[in-house]
């Protein structure tokens, strides 16, 4: 299935900003994070189609997943 993966801040370094990637059925958010070799402890915010999710969430074809480190501002 096709998943749009968007990376932000320091996660872009050595990776990419945005890619449409192919994953098998039943792939979870955690699988994508591991596939991209992002240390789980560094993950701050996971947004799937605009909604916060955790690493266990299963993905569906056409999903858009945004992965951020811990960030803040304001």
């Amino acid at each position: 299935m096709k998943i749009t993966v968007k990376l932000f801040a320091s996660f872009r370094i050595g990776r990419f900003d945005r890619e449409i990637r192919e994953y098998p059925q039943a792939t979870t958010v955690g699988d994508v994070v591991r596939d991209l070799q992002i240390p789980e402890a560094k993950v701050g915010i996971l947004l799937l189609n605009f909604v916060h999710v955790d690493l266990q969430r299963q993905l569906a074809d056409g999903d858009a997943l945004s992965i951020f480190p811990l960030v803040g501002g304001g």
Partner: protein, 580 residues
Amino acid sequence: MDKILRINMGASGGPSQNIEEAGEFSALGGRATTSMIVAKEVPPDCHPLGAENKLVIAPGMLSGTTGAMSGRISVGCKSPLTGGIKESNAGGQPAQVMARLGYAAIIIEGKPASDDLYKIHIDKDKVTISVDNSLKLMDNYPLVEKLRKEYGDKAAYMSIGSAGERKMAAASIACTDPELRPSRHCGRGGVGAVMGAKQVKAIIFDDSGCTHRQPKNQEKFKAANRAYVEGIRKHAVSGEGLPAYGTNILTNVLNEAGGYPTRNFKTGFFEGGTKISGETQAELEIQRGGLATHGCHRGCVIQCSGIYNDKDGKFLTKQPEYETVWSHGGHCGIDDLDTIAMLDYLDDNIGVDTIEMGVAIGVAMDGGVIEFGDSEGAIRLVRDEVGKGTPLGRILGNGAEMTGKAFGVDRVPVVKGQALPAYDPRTVQGIGVTYATSTMGADHTAGYAVATNILKVGGDVDPLKPEGQVELSRNLQIATTAIDSTGMCLFIAFPILDQPETFDALLDMLGAFYGIKMTGDDVVALGKKVLTLEREFNQKAGFGAEDDRLPRFFKTEPLAPHNITFTVKDEELDELYNWS
């Protein structure tokens, strides 16, 4: 900080000055000091631009010490924008210098009978208040350049631009950064108009011959400061994200969460977000020979700011903050960083709040004054209308509410007359509670529920649901009021919310400095005390429960992409101040 300087601008025969004992204020600071003095001395029903209003300036409890992050300065008064009490704080150098000069507060009261314009110079020996009509209608950058020739580069400057002199309700007070740029602003609530009403153009602080303020317990203070700095450096937000990308890192976060108010709060996603994001901004700054990492005051270890150069590599402005990029960017349908940076510079120069100004322009766009996305038009409105004080400029410079009325707009995002910042309350319901109930009017910094709702720092409360938002906002508003009194930068909240040992280090610093034992309960008690005073002031000024509300369209118009409305009930909002 054992003295208070009181200046009566309306004294017969010209401004008078008096030094008073600081008393209870010698161990207080920032918002606690300004709000307690305003609540005690300003009639709540006075006109904000009249002689009875007072402008109170206070450094933080630890400003002027060797303690890190202690450079916020608070300005308080009755607000010409909201009609309620106001505390607006900024970074830059003035807090440190004013504290080393020994002043717990400066109170500027009265109003001159003549139309003369004054400047106030303060050094360790004396205070000099002098007429200088050559400064009339000068804007902040040329003004500080001129003053530097007279007072030198060791001083710190607070000043108003032409907007303050014209008493616009969006007018700010500029504070100079370490390189003497007037780029850090007490922005919100029109504090610059109150300074303008007092006919004070600039305050110049020179601490030559003064030393750092000395803690009661030097060793303990040093050790606590070390632990505090370590805690700030090791947290991902204050140690990595903010230094590298600045506050504008949030553009992508809020956009991806569907909470980025776009084209005057019509949708929650801006298609041009990537082009104006913190990642793009930091890359561009470095490419043009600017800086993506820069501190607004000496002693800052987060360094969230930066230097934004123009296409030719020449300084244009400091790194625009997230809220500025939003108000002039997505809110106006503008996706060009150079336009936004130019607007940031113009706002700083003229001396207006970037949030209020940007939101007012977006409301004007909704009213058909110019089209959404019109970059040139937005620059023209600020530079040639607000900056020149034309009738249109005076409407815009008086903020979003005034602009909405002038152009018949029925979608005006304000609470208590103050413009909403860069987080849609339908998608970030916790910040909606803060906007509605804060004593300050719509203000994200008053209780930054975005941290818990969206960023997942300091806990996790679902941003899309009403449950738990009132309690969250209440606790954050109490804690923030206390932090605003310490003079600490609010960004220390990220590490202290997540790391109990860093919070303890801050308490130890305060305790070691004043020779007392400071606990978390003391901090909460201080926050509650100040909030209660502020709320009582507002009630006496005429505010009731009906003013603790968001504009109704947030309850009736669903926001894409989540297609939800703000669902925290009015009765729940009314519970915010019911604490035991």
